[in-house]
Symmetry: C2
Subunit: 156 residues, 2 copies
DNA sequence: TATTGTTATACTCTATAACTATA
DNA sequence: TATAGTTATAGAGTATAACAATA
């Protein structure tokens, strides 16, 4: 054993530190922080947050979805969804409506105002993402989404 | 204007909802959640968290880095780093040492135990990522990191 | 005046557990 | 018994503002 081996030259400071840069998780997180900040800037101070945006998207896509089903789609607990739905209802973007045949459930229905707000928000986010990622080609952005979906294939 | 146009058939429920799936931000977040959960499983209940892992990685890579410089590298505020360094010091993975010539700064130095712990953690994380992403080819994983780094080129 | 580390504080996101009203 | 929505609570993670020591 050489002195270098003993002190870990081959897996020492330089290479050991840059292991971080080779990890998918680390690169995902750093990239996510950037895109999320851009998202918030796109929708402004009092605009929809990422969670409310996603929730409203699903409600528009799946009218009369229940809160439990929506929580499942969002990958969060149903207790955590309450505040999000409260917020969207307060803004007048959706309503909790009665479900005939099951008085426990609330069917969520987007209002016209909510649908318009979503379209407007989508346009803003798309424009901001396009500007943020203008240094990437369309092919690269598509490839990125394809690869991210491969990871998402592991979703519960 | 047709009835379909008025009610937004072309940007209506189905396509409007799936806008979400076309956004980089949404796909990034969902993918990140999966990989992060895997990371935590890799390092166990009392193992290093993602932030402590990254911090220790930088301390090993850049011995005697100050807390302010480390916070900058991690992309967080220096106030937020205090608890992370406290934790790593409590575990015996690094020490705050005096900086000759500037008594305000603390130079962070990883201990041998800390270096060994980092190597062990790196091995565990790499193995878990490899298993989690075994359904992707090596080429795909490399391409993904390349594309994520393109986004990270937007880092402050 | 400016910077380093620190504390205090607050806000967001998320989870767990327990409650209520229904089924 | 089980499920839907809700509340209470707690724990990460992060940010801002202010402070003491030092530059």
């Amino acid at each position: 054993m050489t002195a270098d081996d003993r002190h870990g030259a081959e897996t020492g400071p330089e290479s050991a530190g840059s292991v971080l840069e080779t990890l998918i998780g680390y690169n995902l997180k750093r990239a996510y922080v950037i895109v999320q900040a851009d998202f918030r800037e796109a929708l402004g101070q009092d605009g929809l947050g990422p969670r409310a945006f996603s929730a409203l998207s699903f409600v528009v896509q799946f009218p009369e979805i229940t809160q439990s089903a929506l929580a499942r789609k969002l990958g969060i607990e149903r207790s955590g969804l309450v505040a999000i739905v409260d917020d969207l209802e307060r803004r007048g973007f959706l309503r909790r409506t009665a479900v005939p045949g099951d008085r426990r459930s609330h069917a969520l229905v987007a209002t016209h105002v909510g649908q318009a707000a979503l379209r407007s928000a989508q346009d803003a986010v798309r424009a901001h993402e396009a500007a943020l990622l203008a240094h990437m080609t369309e092919q690269e952005r598509e490839m990125l989404i394809t690869l991210l979906r491969k990871i998402r294939a592991r979703e519960g």
